[in-house]
């Protein structure tokens, strides 16, 4: 983790948050000012592309970015911090002598970009001396001058700060009134204004919006010395502030209220406070084999760790060996065409287009129009996630559109697209699924997570656990974690609810690379059942 990029927003201890921080701290009013003029961006981009070509580069792209962030952090009935940041600059990437070179600058002039381009070409030429295999870039047609915007209804940057603080105060009050001992709640708002141009003839202007509204509610029983937490069930989304409207039609009634395309944070805070207290006295789970019924608010993280990461092609090839690790899903398994990743019920797909998802953009950070493709079809491993310079290793000629950089100053590389589980084809509701489970646990919300460096062995916790006996939910249990092996787990998938239950979850701070870059990604699914999974009891006594 790059320590200079992280800002400690509040004091150490439970409330501490280390957040990615790039750029200058600005006034709220600057969040809504116009970005860089389109004609200026084109002029700067052309200067970069022409300079690169003149110096002998066979390919060049330039990204001109304005990245806006707003973070609002609260605890109980007080505001802890508000941070607004803006980061503006340009990154140029070139291929010269068959080798990549990259340079970035915040000198927003034609001279500035030309100088950065010369550095990028020089770096490429210097590094080419140690290059054994020249870069092979998949063909990509130019799109001319095009644009794309996240289809938002309410630009979160334009919502007054006071309204955001009032909302969080109401959320916190709702939890405290319902008996919470503590609550931390926050808003993270992101607007990436990025312009991409390449020697392929693309000039792509994109306006990307994302939002996250997490909270943690704590219940303390001082007498027994016990405490429990329940995190909010919101999901980070590629939507505007309308996500926080909490529309009735987006609510799913279960053991608690679950949320589809909008979120009622005040309601969830109250439920979280009640459930955190209930957890203090819940029965401790008896370890053993259980059939697990996993809600999408939980399953997204299991998909992320056990499908998303192992199918990143750079991991498979060994480029991440010293940091994130490698992958069990090796090329020979894929080439066999017979590798049974999961049961025949399991269809996992990648995409960068689902509405409301964190991965949704029109074009990736190397000018590839985004789309959707299969990773696992009827249980068989069929594809990976790759960029323009990687797909040739799979014998494919079109990039998957997985290139992303977290800032203008970072070099783009392969990042995870949305990876989701296709809903079951046959009609099946949650109630119908539970009815057939003899001995099971129904899990809601993501909790503790850990997986090995090749993505075989994992352990997951959750937020809420309900025991199922003979087709009925009998009550809450605690101290639950399940352990499995990726292939075994996905092969134990016996049922998936139909598309009516499909919901997105996601990660707002997914780290990869050295120096580390942060990315965001969504994972959709319907509730799914996994048979005979090993559940351990996590209760321990210390001194």
């Amino acid at each position: 983790m790059d320590r200079r990029k992280f800002l400690q927003l509040s004091g150490a201890g439970v409330g501490a948050s280390m957040l990615p921080f790039a750029g200058n701290v600005i006034a709220e009013s600057q969040l809504t000012t116009d970005g860089i003029d389109l004609s200026v961006k084109k002029e700067l981009a052309d200067a970069a592309l022409n300079t690169a070509t003149k110096l002998g580069a066979t390919y060049a792209d330039v990204r001109i970015g304005r990245y806006l962030n707003q973070y609002v952090l609260t605890r109980e009935l007080q505001l802890q911090n508000v941070v607004n940041t803006e980061s503006i600059g340009m990154g140029v990437r070139v291929i010269a002598n068959g080798t990549w070179g990259f340079s970035a600058t915040n000198d927003m002039t034609v001279d500035g970009i030309a100088k950065a381009t010369r550095k990028a070409v020089a770096t490429a030429k210097a590094n080419s001396k140690h290059q054994s295999e020249p870069v092979q870039l998949a063909e990509q047609k130019g799109f001319g001058e095009v644009s794309w915007k996240t289809p938002i209804q309410k630009n979160a940057m334009q919502v007054p700060l006071a309204e955001k603080i009032d909302l969080l105060m109401e959320v916190n009050k709702s939890a405290m009134d319902a008996g919470a001992s503590f609550i931390n709640s926050s808003l993270y708002l992101v607007n990436e204004q990025k312009y991409f141009a390449s020697t392929d003839g693309s000039y792509i202007d994109q306006d990307v919006h994302r939002l996250w509204a997490p909270m943690t509610v704590t219940a303390v029983d001082k007498k027994s010395g016990g405490f429990r937490t329940r995190n909010g069930l919101s999901q980070p989304v590629g939507r505007g502030f309308e996500y926080l409207d909490g529309r009735a039609e987006d609510k799913v009634q279960s053991q608690t209220v679950l949320y589809r395309d909008s979120y009622d944070m005040i309601e969830d805070a109250k439920l979280a406070a009640q459930q955190a207290q209930e957890k203090l006295n819940a029965k401790s789970v008896k370890p053993g084999k259980y059939d697990l019924v996993l809600d999408p608010s939980h399953l997204w993280l299991t998909i992320h760790e056990s499908v998303g990461h192992p199918l990143e092609l750079d991991r498979v090839l060994g480029y991440e060996a010293n940091y994130a690790g490698t992958s069990f899903a090796t090329l020979d398994k894929w080439r066999s065409g017979k590798f049974q990743y999961g049961s025949d019920k399991v269809n996992l797909f990648a995409d960068k287009v689902q509405p409301g998802s964190l991965g949704a953009v029109g074009y990736d950070d190397e000018g590839v129009q985004t789309g959707q493709w299969d990773l696992v079809k009827d249980g068989i491993l069929v594809n990976y996630q790759a960029t323009r310079d990687q797909v040739h290793m799979l014998g494919q000629d079109k990039s998957h559109g997985c290139s992303y950089a977290d800032d203008w100053s970072s070099v783009q590389f392969q990042r995870m697209p949305n990876v989701s589980l296709l809903p079951g084809k046959e009609e099946l509701s949650l109630d119908e699924m539970i009815k057939d489970v003899e001995k099971g646990i129904y899990i809601i919300g993501a909790g503790s997570f850990s997986i090995d460096q090749q993505r075989y062995n994992f352990q997951f916790g959750g937020q809420l656990f309900y025991e199922i006996e003979d087709g009925k939910i009998t009550g809450m249990v605690e101290d639950v974690a399940y352990q499995s092996n990726t292939q075994e787990f996905w092969n134990s998938c016996s049922q998936i609810c139909d598309k009516r239950d499909y919901r997105l979850g996601g990660s707002f701070f997914d780290g990869k690379g050295q120096p580390s870059q942060v990315s965001t990604v969504s994972h959709g699914s319907s509730t799914a059942r996994f048979d005979g999974v090993n559940v351990i009891n996590t209760k321990r006594k210390i001194g």
Binding site: N24, A27, G318, D452, Q459, K539
Partner: protein, 443 residues
């Protein structure tokens, strides 16, 4: 070059503070030049240099405060950043936990700057990577590694007369070596102040040996084992514990340091009596910035755990005042006192046990007992009658560092490791009854 001298930094800080029209203001000037080189599959993949200098200004009106940052230092820019901070402060709600600005602090002298790192060249970086790759090729293994070197300074000042200046260098190198057949993997780290003290060839040699020796691992039943945890295996668990070691969360009843019935467990014997953990910004092995990041309070040498007893916990000024106790700033380094035995000697004294090179992907399972889960990685070996017998498959553990520090059999020499963004001295530990709960096929 991003390193300003003490007088250059002071001049900028004095000037920006003079523009203040608020009740009070503080400013922090930081700069760093960071170089890196990354390689994988025995070939360099990326390298770069990032140079950055930034001024952050905080303006105060009573309990209201606003922060603005800038990276240009003309008179006009300095005035602009102060005005912006003041504008933000006026707009912000009162922070009931705001504490007054500190007066002048007496910061200890810290020697954290080494010429070997300050003057590093791109050629040296390339050679560092090449030495590692060459060593790998010679032994027919595949290298992936990352070297990052920093030269940095920080200066702080406020309108109450506080001023501090600190320069530092550091270099961190990690390398993973994998056998070509994919059956063996080894890892090693070197974390130094002076790049001259770093040998990527030597560190790579350790990783290569582990990779070669860890091939064709056998499966042992999960369960409770005596383990020898090398410093990098200990640090992952210890780091989590010290991150949760805080007076406020303990007093609030939501920490492993909370006491049944209320209050905290300071003064209680929590660990084996040999456990001694402290911080000291002036420690020559792991020098650190002599003030805390929260409010520039001077850091001193302080014991966190002495003779196994919880002696002190970090306590913010706000929480200290509220509870009429002493404020204790959050440290910038950590030292756990070790013994004098080498890992080899500890192996010799072990009848049956498991040697763990490194722990990985550690996450909190239960903050109440500080139960953590994670995995062993890059060299796990079975020990019998004082010798390494054979490599074993990696394990997932579910264990609390509190229990680990109660079950110590023997302590090895301490080594400098990178821990949560700062440096720490951590010993190897021989621990009984360490809980492995399942096997992993990962190499």
């Amino acid at each position: 070059m991003a390193i300003l001298t003490r007088s250059e930094a002071k001049r900028i800080l004095d000037k920006v503070l003079k523009y203040s029209r608020a009740d009070g203001a503080s400013a922090q000037l930081t700069g760093a030049e960071t170089g890196n080189i990354r390689y994988a599959r025995n070939s360099v993949s990326t390298s770069g240099i990032v140079d950055n200098i930034e001024l952050a200004v905080e303006a105060r009106f009573g309990k209201k405060s606003g922060v603005a940052t800038i990276n240009e230092f003309s008179d006009a820019a300095l005035e602009k950043v102060m005005r912006r901070a003041e504008e933000l402060a006026k707009l912000s709600p009162e922070n009931p936990e705001a504490m007054p600005l500190l007066g002048p602090q007496k910061y200890v002298d810290v020697n954290a700057f080494a010429k070997g790192t300050a003057n590093i060249t791109p050629e040296q970086r390339a050679k560092a990577a090449a030495d590692s790759i060459m060593a790998a090729k010679k032994k027919k293994v595949v290298a992936a590694g990352y070297l990052e070197d920093d030269r940095s300074f920080a200066a702080v000042a406020n309108t109450e007369g506080l001023f501090g200046y600190h320069v530092a260098t550091s270099a961190n190198f990690t390398v993973t070596m994998r056998t070509e057949n994919g059956l063996g993997s080894g890892w090693a780290e070197s974390d130094v102040t002076d790049f001259a003290d770093m040998s990527t060839a030597l560190t790579s040699g350790i990783a290569i040996d582990k990779a070669v020796q860890s091939q064709e691992a056998r499966a042992l039943e999960p369960g409770k084992y005596t383990v020898i945890l090398e410093p990098n295996a200990v640090s992952g668990l210890l780091g989590y514990m010290m991150y949760s070691y805080n007076a406020r969360s303990a007093d609030e009843g939501r920490s492993f340091m909370s006491k049944k019935g209320g209050g905290n467990r300071l003064g209680e014997k929590m660990f084996d009596k040999r456990v001694h953990i402290y911080s000291d910004p002036a420690d020559p092995n792991v020098p650190a910035t002599p003030w805390s990041g929260e409010d520039n309070m001077a850091l001193q040498r302080i014991d966190w755990v002495r003779d196994g007893v919880a002696a002190n916990m970090p306590r913010s000024r706000y929480w200290a005042e509220k509870n009429e106790e002493e404020a204790i700033p959050t440290p910038g380094n950590l030292i756990m006192v070790g013994g004098d035995k080498s890992t080899e000697e500890m192996i010799k004294n072990t009848r049956r046990g498991i040697l763990v090179t490194r722990t990985w992907y550690i996450r909190m399972v239960d903050p109440q007992s500080l139960l953590l889960t994670g995995l062993t990685r890059d060299g796990t070996f079975y020990i019998e009658n004082g010798k390494i017998k054979y490599p074993v498959k990696n394990f997932r553990f579910n264990e609390s560092p509190v229990i680990m520090l109660n079950n110590i059999e023997e302590m090895g020499q301490a080594k400098r490791v990178g821990m949560w963004g700062f440096s720490a001295m951590v010993p190897a530990l021989k621990v009984r009854d360490f809980t492995f709960s399942s096997l992993s096929d990962a190499v």
